[in-house]
Symmetry: C2
Subunit: 306 residues, 2 copies
């Protein structure tokens, strides 16, 4: 059950004769004749009825013909994609990104640019799955923790992180909060392996502060649900999709910022295309939010009351 045999089979069916088919596929008639009989032997019944003027497919032959045609066209497509890969052409890029990157950068970038070539298939991954996204099929990853794997890494933006509080919270009237204030509150924080938590922990440690009461959440949705039920006052997260009031978290030098890296495989077959895309993304962040700075609460998608 070789592709070759099937190709010959459909050629014979379409030509209606072994001889004509042989001429069409540029092969001698006996070879084709043998392949055909071999196929019939494999299947176990006649695929053609032999007439003095040629061959006509039997019912079984017609049924197999349908299947074979479908398989062959599919095989040709695979061949084409392989060729496209070899010549560096690319029609689709799989992009995996954290929530904040998608909401604050990718989505507005795509909406302002419209459809792009190559087509960007964006998937948002949970922070714990992001480091392995490259090896699981993503062509480009945007993450806060630079992957250690054999990859190109570029810093494309630095976005502030936010403390989200319910509308009834005493802080609800202010737009930012300092770290000494923050650590006194009941906090819902990402779990330790997440970049935002590491960033926050480092800043807290730098200032010699200590958390008072912390509840860890691996998923932002859970944090939001807990906050809504009063189990925590402030949620610190990089996920901009909260229905809570965002406060920018400040430290003395300014806002606490999460770096966002674009990472892609070293030697990727579409390296040039990806490089180009990453550069445009970084430039987009600069144009829109200022140099070396990501979107803030004043302008950009994260500024609305969500």
């Amino acid at each position: 059950m070789d592709l070759h045999a099937l190709r010959y089979f459909v050629a014979v069916a379409e030509a209606g004769s072994v001889t004509r088919a042989a001429h069409r596929v540029h092969v001698a008639q006996p070879s084709l004749s043998r392949q055909l009989r071999r196929l019939e032997a494999e299947v176990g019944l006649a695929l053609f009825t032999r007439t003095p003027r040629g061959l006509t497919p039997t019912a079984a032959g017609r049924r197999l013909l349908e299947a074979a045609r479908g398989l062959l066209t599919r095989a040709d497509q695979v061949e084409l994609t392989a060729m496209a890969l070899g010549t560096g052409q690319v029609e689709r890029l799989d992009l995996a990104a954290t929530a904040v990157a998608i909401d604050d950068i990718i989505a507005p970038y795509l909406t302002t640019l419209g459809p792009t070539h190559p087509f960007l298939a964006v998937v948002d991954e949970t922070p714990t799955r992001l480091p392995t996204a490259l090896s699981r099929g993503a062509d480009l990853v945007i993450t806060a923790i630079a992957p250690v794997a054999d990859a190109h890494v570029t810093l494309i933006a630095q976005v502030p992180i936010y403390a989200y509080v319910p509308a009834a919270h005493p802080w609800a009237l202010q737009s930012r909060v300092s770290l000494p204030e923050l650590v006194e509150a009941d906090l819902l924080l990402p779990s330790a392996e997440q970049a935002t938590r590491q960033l926050l922990d480092a800043a807290v440690h730098r200032q010699g502060l200590h958390y008072r009461h912390v509840t860890e959440c691996r998923l932002p949705q859970v944090a939001q649900a807990l906050a809504a039920s009063g189990r925590g006052a402030a949620v610190v997260s990089d996920d901009p999709r909260f229905a809570l009031r965002p406060l920018r978290v400040d430290e003395p030098g300014g806002a606490l910022r999460l770096p966002l890296y674009a990472a892609w495989e070293r030697g990727h077959y579409a390296d040039g295309v990806i490089r180009d895309l990453v550069e445009r993304l970084a430039q987009y962040c600069v144009d829109r939010y200022g140099p070396s700075v990501g979107p803030g609460p004043v302008s950009g998608a994260a500024s609305s009351e969500r």
Copy 2:
């Protein structure tokens, strides 16, 4: 770009190592290694990055992997259908039939029996295309003209033919019409190659009658449209889907009846299944309409005012 090479390729990708993959596909490691490098050479770039502990697919490798997996599952399906063909299993039968057979026999048979195995894919063909339906893919044909091709033929029913008249026609109050009456009317008849026309012509000739005024129509829809616009009084047809009043056409011996034959390819791979189905269809006609007789205007689906 062989299926074999692709199979090895996905095996290596799934095993994460040439050695393990070789063991899994029951082949020596060097063969697999060579096939892999050959595939990479064909595509033109590295599909795996070699690590001391095994191989991990590159971006191009992952992309090709998707395509290859799809192709291989499809190939396996084709293999399975081929096997099924060989062992005489059948999951689908393509049945081509005239309008009258579908409306009066197939449809009621299927509605009373519910879903059948094998699944019956019913297509209605125009009378001119029916004789070649067997060679164009149908597994079973129900037609009024027994095909001359190398096929089994069985008479399964004999259905009356009808003259359809507008509701305003003088005959509209009667339920049948004799041939001497009929030939006096303005007639819309099927064209000469159609079975109903041949049946009618033969009966007319047997009784020494002659048509007065005939308009030929190859398509029943056209006949109906012409009748509706007053271009003909009576439409003789075996198509039971007219919005006109049906009159049974009588000759001295009784109703003028159109034979319906079931025909299927001699040596069909599902011969037993088809034989069984045909027998059940014939038995269904006998049970429902009496021996050697098809549905009449009194009982059955054709009796309603259509």
